[in-house]
């Protein structure tokens, strides 16, 4: 890895730490309460009192972006973890058992891959009207297929290698073999997959909320703040600007991290 890449990784890590700190300590950092209504100071443009300006109810946008970070980042991280956990489980089961279970699981993956993700999620959200928890499950439910495919391929190739066969021959159970031999081999792939899934999940949540079918007000998420900002965009552009910047910075950071994490793996394909 070159020094440039190192610096990039460092920068991404610093930004990620700052983002998470902001989200965790939002109540202490925010200069105003995120839902404090100030009708006299409505629609104020950014100033020293309100760094990001105020919205149509006079709520401080900086505070709302901070609190929105908690919702948006939490959904991003949890949905990504669930996505990869689901993908790894399906991939392992499919790869290890083979035969019809494998065929069935992979056909389900194919079918879900063929359906455009965002419209599918939008319809499901309209039907189920999910809260934050269910939203996380839904985002994971449409995103696990790629991980499952990769893990399945790894498990299949590992299952026939000497050391795993040897373990089976001396009577190691399936779960033990997975944990001891397969897990360490797929771990790097899973770490990268999780990182990239965080970015994708944040984007999906924001898109859903932007169309009014994701996180519902009064809970602030970056997506639904943009949804509310759309109507008054011409007169109060800051309302549309800052939440979007927050999304771009977070997604950019995790994608950059994912890309860096992926580099060493490609360099040492020989083992």
């Amino acid at each position: 890895m070159t020094r440039r890449a190192d610096r990039g990784t460092l920068l991404a890590l610093v930004v990620a730490t700052i983002l998470v700190t902001f989200a965790l300590f939002a109540p202490w950092i925010a200069p105003h309460a995120p839902d404090a209504i100030d009708l006299a100071g409505r629609r104020a443009s950014p100033s020293t009192a309100h760094w990001f300006g105020t919205d149509d109810l006079g709520r401080d946008l900086f505070a709302r972006v901070l609190f929105g970070a908690r919702v948006s980042l939490a959904i991003g991280v949890l949905a990504a973890a669930l996505t990869v956990a689901l993908g790894a489980t399906v991939g392992t089961v499919a790869g290890w058992t083979g035969r019809w279970i494998d065929a069935l699981l992979m056909r389900i993956a194919d079918a879900l891959l063929a359906m455009p993700r965002l419209p599918l999620l939008m319809i499901t959200s309209v039907i189920l009207r999910p809260g934050v928890a269910l939203l996380i499950v839904l985002v994971a439910a449409v995103g696990w297929m790629e991980t499952a495919r990769v893990v399945r391929a790894e498990v299949r190739s590992l299952a026939t290698r000497g050391f795993v066969e040897a373990a089976r021959a001396v009577g190691a159970g399936a779960i033990w073999s997975m944990w001891r031999h397969v897990r360490p081999n797929v771990m790097p792939t899973l770490v990268v997959a999780t990182t990239l899934a965080v970015g994708r999940s944040i984007l999906l949540e924001s898109a859903l909320s932007f169309f009014g079918v994701g996180v519902q007000p009064p809970t602030a998420s970056w997506g639904n703040m943009l949804y509310q900002a759309q109507a008054t965009m011409a007169t109060e552009p800051w309302l549309a600007f800052f939440p979007g910047v927050a999304i771009v910075i977070s997604v950019l950071t995790v994608n950059a991290l994912g890309e860096r994490l992926d580099l060493p793996k490609k360099g040492s394909d020989s083992n």
Partner: protein, 299 residues
């Protein structure tokens, strides 16, 4: 494809109140009428029978009626399709025009400034929320500078070609951005792979001009995989079109979808999901075929 249809059918039935929800929520409709309708529509049959009938109807092009205006879903979708195809074709051309030179240049001068800017731009491109990018362009170029119209497919009183093209530019760029980012990096990676092969070295040592070598020989070999990737990204294009058309009030299928979403118009939503999924599957098959035709090694 069958599995997709089962999933769509399951979603249809999971909708609140089932397919008759509009009537259930209407206090003017008596319960016995609902019962009669249920029988008339065959909703008292077992699910499997209902599914087969629905599938048969769908294949025949009978996609039900829109809940918002009562017109056949197929008719509504057909009248919206040209606008979407126009937008999709435009953005496809734009994305390729951006991705191919960028990818080739990045691969040939690896680590050069084009490559470095390209890598940052590509990372940003895939990290941008499509709808927000659209809003920003609207805000800055259409509303702020007034250079291009902010929404719609044509102006009210001038329907000329120039006007149509001006309306296409912004949504085209937005829809193209994500793809251009991903494709340029993909092309760069496959070009680098090809450039390290022996026939390039052989060409160079025989004095084939650099430019000709890169474009005729290297790019030609890298183009095959790129075509496959472009076709495989069809599902992503559909998602992008839904968002872009909604932001720019483009009167296409994606716009129809978001309108239907706001009105809970389930027949339209399901038909959209079904049609786009089938289209994606077709394009994926085409990708397989293209791969076979373009890469002689797989023949």
């Amino acid at each position: 494809m069958l599995l997709v249809s089962v999933l769509v059918f399951a979603l249809l039935h999971a909708a609140p109140g089932g397919p008759l929800s509009v009537y259930l929520e209407n206090p003017g409709v008596r319960p016995e009428d609902i019962e009669r309708l249920r029988r008339a529509l065959g909703l008292d049959q077992p699910l499997a029978t209902q599914y087969l009938r629905w599938l048969a109807a769908f294949v025949r092009g009978d996609w039900g009626f829109s809940l918002s205006d009562g017109r056949p879903v197929a008719e509504r979708m057909l009248e919206r399709a040209p606008a979407t195809l126009e937008l999709a074709a435009t953005s496809l051309v734009m994305a390729l025009l951006a991705a191919v030179p960028l990818g080739v240049r990045s691969a040939v001068r690896r680590g050069g400034w084009v490559d470095r800017i390209g890598s940052v731009a590509a990372l940003t491109g895939v990290s941008l929320p499509v709808f927000w990018f659209g809003l920003l362009l609207q805000l800055s170029i259409a509303i702020g500078l007034g250079w291009l119209p902010s929404s719609g497919r044509s102006s009210a009183f001038e329907g000329g070609a120039a006007d149509r093209i001006r309306h296409l530019i912004l949504p085209g760029i937005v829809l193209a951005a994500v793809h251009a980012a991903a494709w340029s990096r993909y092309l760069r990676a496959s070009m680098i792979g090809i450039l390290s092969q022996r026939f390039i070295l052989a060409g160079e040592s025989r004095g084939v001009p650099h430019r000709r070598l890169m474009l005729r020989h290297a790019l030609r070999n890298a183009a095959g995989p790129l075509v496959t990737v472009v076709l495989l990204d069809a599902a992503l294009l559909v998602s992008g079109a839904v968002v872009t058309e909604s932001v720019f009030a483009w009167p296409g299928l994606g716009g129809l979808f978001t309108e239907a979403l706001a009105r809970r118009d389930y027949p339209v939503l399901m038909a959209f999901l079904m049609v786009t999924s089938v289209a994606v599957i077709m394009l994926n098959l085409l990708a397989d075929l293209a791969h076979r035709v373009l890469d002689p090694r797989t023949r």
